[in-house]
Amino acid sequence: MTPTLQLFLILSSALFCIGLLAALSRRHAVFILIGIEMMLAAAGLNFIAFWRFGPQPAPPTGVMITIFAIGIAAAEAAVGLALVIAVYRHLRTTNIDEIDELKG
C-alpha cells in the first residue's frame, strides 16, 4: 500500500477523534491534557501531509509549522501540568467532575 494523502488524512482525523474522545470522557486532568496533545499532533500531521503531497519542490513550510507547533505544545503542556498541580494543591483533587469553580 503506497502512502497517499487520503491515508494520512484518515490517520490524522482518527488521531484527532481519539484525542477529542479522551479530552471529553476522561475524568483525570492529566489524561485530558494528553488528549489535547493528541489533537495537536493530529493537526501537525495534517500540515506535514499537505506539504509533502503538495507541489514539489516546495520550501519546508509544513515541517517548519509543525516544529513550531511541537515547541508550543511543549510549552502548553508545561503550563497545563502546572495548572493541574496548582488546582490539586487548591482543591485536593484532579478529578475534573469535582471541579466546578467556573460556575457562574
Binding site: 479530552a23 515541517v63 475534573i96 471541579i99 467556573l102
Partner: protein, 657 residues
C-alpha cells in the same frame, strides 16, 4: 551470522526495546512471563553482540558504518547512522552480559514487589537505550539515546515512588544530568554549525575525520569542553556528581545497572568516542580540553574516595567508590590512555556490578538494613556472598596478579606517569589507590567480620537465583584479567587496532611492586584502624571535625542549596511578589478608577434610566437564569459544546457549498 548482524546493528537495541513494550502491557499477575521475556531479550541481544564482536576480530582497527537519511529539510539532509568498531563491540558485549546477570538477580530480589512487571519493563528499556548510545554513529542519535537513558534512570531511581526520598532522588538525578546536557546540546549545535554534519564517520566527510577537524580549528577546544559537560553530568564528575549517591534510593539491581554497566559508563564512552575532538592540535599529547578532563578527573577521584571513607550506608560507599573510579577513567582518557580508560571501564563494569549485587544480597539477607555499623560477622551466615564480595573488593582495590581491576589500574597509572604536562595526577592517583583499598577494607570488616550486629542476627544466605549471578560475575572479574596482562595485552591491542604479541618478560614490571606496596598499605591501614571497630567509627573518635566534614559529603549539597537553589527560590519569590503586588496593584488601581467613575454616573443612572430599563432587565434576568442552568462549571461540558458547535459549523459549511 556475524556479517549479517553487522548490517543489522539496529536489531541489538531493538530487541530489548520491543521486550520492554511487551512486558509493559502485561498485568502484574504474569510475573514469570515478564521476567522470562525480559531475560530472553537480553540473551538475544547478547548473542547478537557476540556476533558483532566476532565480526570485528579478523581485521585490526575494524570499522563498519551504515548511514541513512532521517529526513530532508530543504537543502539539508539530516543523517543518522550506526557504527561498529572495537570500542562499540566490547561495550556491547559488556553491557548485554552484565545486564543479563542483573536481570537474573532481580528475579530474586524483586520477587515480592507489587510492581514486578513494570520493573522489568523499565530495566529492558534502560538497557535498550544504553545499547543505542553505544552503536550510534551520529552525535544526534547518540544524544537521543543519551536522553532516553536519562529518562530510564529517572523511572528506575524513582521506582519506589511512594517513598518521598526516592522521588526527590529521581528528580535530582534528572535535573543534574540535564544541566550537563545543556552544555552537550550547545556543543552539538556548534559542531553542526561548523562542520555541517553530526555523523562521526562518513567516508572522509564525518565530523571526526580529518577534513572536518581541520575546518574546526580553535573552536574544537570549546566544543570538546561543552560535550564534556554532558559527559561529566552522566558520569558523575565534580561538580555534577551530587546525583549519583542519591541515586541509591532505587532498588539495588538498578544501582548495579546504573553504576556498572550503563548510565555512568555513557559519559566515559562519549569522551572516548569523540576523542579526536579533544586531541585536536595536541602537543606531546596535551591539549587544553584534555587538561581540563584530567584535573576534573583528579578532583573527582580523590574527593569521592575521601568521602567514601566516612559513609555508613553500604550502597553509598559503593556509590562514592564508583564516582572515584570514574574520575580515574577520566584521568586516563585525559592523559592519552584511551584504551586503558576503556579497559578499566569494562573491568569496573564486571566487578562493580558484582559488588552492588553482593550488597543487594547482604541487604536482602539483613532484612533491608543498609547501615554497615549494624551488620557484622556475616561471613559465616552468607558464605557465597562473602567469597564473591571479597573477590570484587580485591578487584576494586587492585590486588595484583589475579584480579582484572589491578591490571587496568596498572595501565592507567602507567599512562599518567607518562603525561608530559605534570606528574601531580600520577601521585594523586597513587594516593587514590591507597584510599580505595582503605575504604573497601573498612566495609569488609564492618559487614563480614567481627561480632554479629543487631541487623545480622537473623541474616540468611540468599536464594540461588541471586547467588548464581554473583558467582558468574566473580568468575568474570578474575578470568577477564587473562586478556589484560602486559604479557599478552590482547584487549589493549584490540582497542588500539594493533596485533597482540606474547611476551612473558613484561608480566612482572616494577610498577607492579609499587601498586602491591600501595594496596598492602591501604589494606593494612584498614585492618589496623577498623579491627574490632563497632558503632562509633575509629576515625570519628580520633578526628571528629574531619570525619564530620567527610560524612556530610564535604557539605557540597548544602553549598548548592545555598547558592544555586537559593537563586531559584529567590526568582520564584520575586515572580510571586510581582504577581501579587505589582500586576495585581495595577489591576486594582484600574478597577478603583472605574469604580470612581461608576459612582459619578450612578445618580443619573438611578433617576433617569432605571425606570425604562427595569422592564427589560426582568426579561434579561429570566433569560440569564435559563442559561445559568446550562452553566455547570464543568470544563468538559464546555469542551463538548465547542466540539458540537464545530461539527455544526462544518455541516453548515458543507451545506453552503
Amino acid at each position: 551470522m556475524s556479517s549479517w548482524i553487522v548490517s543489522h546493528l539496529w536489531l541489538i537495541p531493538s530487541v530489548p526495546l520491543a521486550m520492554a513494550l511487551v512486558v509493559l502491557s502485561l498485568t502484574n499477575s504474569q510475573q514469570r512471563l515478564a521476567a522470562a521475556l525480559a531475560v530472553a531479550g537480553q540473551v538475544v541481544a547478547l548473542l547478537f553482540s557476540l556476533g558483532a564482536f566476532v565480526a570485528t576480530l579478523p581485521t585490526p582497527g575494524y570499522r563498519a558504518v551504515q548511514n541513512f537519511t532521517w529526513f530532508t529539510f530543504g537543502e539539508q539532509a539530516l543523517r543518522l547512522g550506526f557504527v561498529l568498531d572495537p570500542l562499540t563491540a566490547v561495550m556491547l558485549v559488556m553491557i548485554t552480559f552484565v545486564s543479563l546477570w542483573i536481570f537474573v538477580f532481580s528475579i530474586g530480589y524483586m520477587a515480592e514487589d507489587a510492581h514486578f512487571t513494570r520493573f522489568f519493563a523499565y530495566l529492558s528499556f534502560f538497557s535498550a537505550a544504553m545499547l543505542g548510545v553505544v552503536i550510534a554513529n551520529s552525535l544526534l542519535l547518540l544524544f537521543i539515546c543519551w536522553e532516553l537513558v536519562g529518562l530510564a534512570s529517572y523511572l528506575l531511581i524513582g521506582f519506589w515512588i511512594h517513598k518521598p526520598s526516592a522521588a526527590a532522588a529521581a528528580k535530582k538525578a534528572f535535573i543534574t544530568t540535564r544541566i550537563g546536557d545543556i552544555g552537550f546540546f550547545i556543543g552539538m549545535l556548534w559542531l553542526y554549525g561548523r562542520t555541517g554534519t553530526l555523523l562521526f564517520y562518513d567516508g572522509g566527510k564525518g565530523a571526526l575525520e580529518s577534513a572536518a577537524l581541520l575546518s574546526l580549528g580553535a573552536a574544537a577546544t570549546w566544543i570538546a569542553l561543552l560535550i564534556f559537560c554532558g559527559a561529566a553530568g552522566k558520569s558523575g564528575q565534580f561538580p555534577l556528581h551530587v546525583w549519583l549517591p542519591d541515586a541509591m534510593e532505587g532498588p539495588t539491581p538498578v544501582s548495579a545497572l546504573i553504576h556498572a554497566a550503563t548510565m555512568v559508563a555513557a559519559g566515559v564512552f562519549l569522551v572516548a568516542r569523540v576523542y579526536p575532538l579533544f586531541s585536536l592540535g595536541e602537543i606531546h599529547g596535551v591539549t587544553t580540553s584534555l587538561t581540563v578532563v584530567v584535573w576534573i578527573g583528579v578532583i573527582t577521584a580523590l574527593m569521592s574516595a575521601l568521602i567514601a571513607v566516612a559513609q555508613a550506608d553500604i550502597k553509598r560507599i559503593l556509590a562514592y567508590s564508583t564516582v572515584s573510579q570514574l574520575g580515574l577513567m577520566m584521568v586516563s582518557l585525559g592523559v592519552g590512555g584511551v584504551a586503558a580508560g576503556i579497559m578499566h571501564l569494562l573491568a569496573h563494569g564486571f566487578f562493580k556490578a558484582l559488588l552492588f549485587l553482593g550488597s543487594g544480597s547482604v541487604i536482602h539477607g539483613c532484612h533491608e538494613e543498609q547501615d554497615i555499623r549494624k551488620m557484622g560477622g556475616l561471613r559465616r551466615v552468607m558464605p557465597v556472598t562473602f567469597l564473591t564480595y571479597a573477590i570484587g573488593m580485591m578487584a576494586l582495590s587492585g590486588v595484583p596478579l589475579f584480579f582484572s581491576g589491578a591490571w587496568t589500574k596498572e595501565e592507567i597509572l602507567h599512562a599518567t606517569s607518562l603525561w608530559s604536562a605534570s606528574h601531580l595526577p600520577h601521585y594523586f592517583m597513587l594516593l587514590g589507590v591507597v584510599l580505595t583499598a582503605l575504604y573497601m577494607t573498612r566495609q569488609m570488616i564492618y559487614v563480614f567480620f567481627g561480632s554479629r550486629g543487631s541487623a545480622s542476627n537473623h541474616a540468611h544466605e540468599s536464594s540461588p537465583v541471586m547467588t548464581m549471578p554473583l558467582i558468574v560475575l566473580a568468575t568474570c572479574a578474575i578470568v577477564f584479567s587473562l586478556v589484560l596482562t602486559p604479557a599478552w595485552p590482547w584487549l589493549h591491542s584490540y582497542l588500539s587496532g594493533e596485533r597482540p604479541a606474547l611476551n612473558w618478560s613484561l608480566l612482572i614490571t616494577p610498577t607492579l611492586y609499587v601498586s602491591l606496596v600501595l594496596v598492602v598499605i591501604g589494606i593494612g591501614l584498614g585492618v589496623l584502624i577498623y579491627r574490632g571497630a563497632r558503632e562509633t567509627d575509629p576515625v570519628e573518635r580520633a578526628l571528629p571535625p574531619v570525619f564530620r566534614f567527610l560524612e556530610n559529603r564535604m557539605w557540597l549539597d548544602e553549598l548548592y542549596d545555598w547558592t544555586v537553589l537559593a537563586l531559584a527560590r529567590f526568582a520564584a519569590r520575586l515572580s510571586d511578589f510581582l504577581d501579587r503586588y505589582l500586576w495585581d496593584g495595577l489591576f486594582r488601581l484600574g478597577s478603583t478608577l472605574v469604580g470612581f467613575f461608576g459612582t459619578l454616573t450612578k445618580g443619573f443612572d438611578e433617576r433617569a434610566i432605571n425606570g425604562g430599563v427595569n422592564e427589560a432587565t426582568d426579561w434579561a434576568c429570566g433569560l440569564g437564569r435559563g442559561i445559568a442552568r446550562r452553566h455547570s462549571g464543568q470544563v468538559q461540558t464546555y469542551l463538548g459544546a465547542i466540539a458540537i458547535a464545530m461539527v455544526a459549523l462544518f455541516i453548515f459549511y458543507a451545506w453552503l457549498t
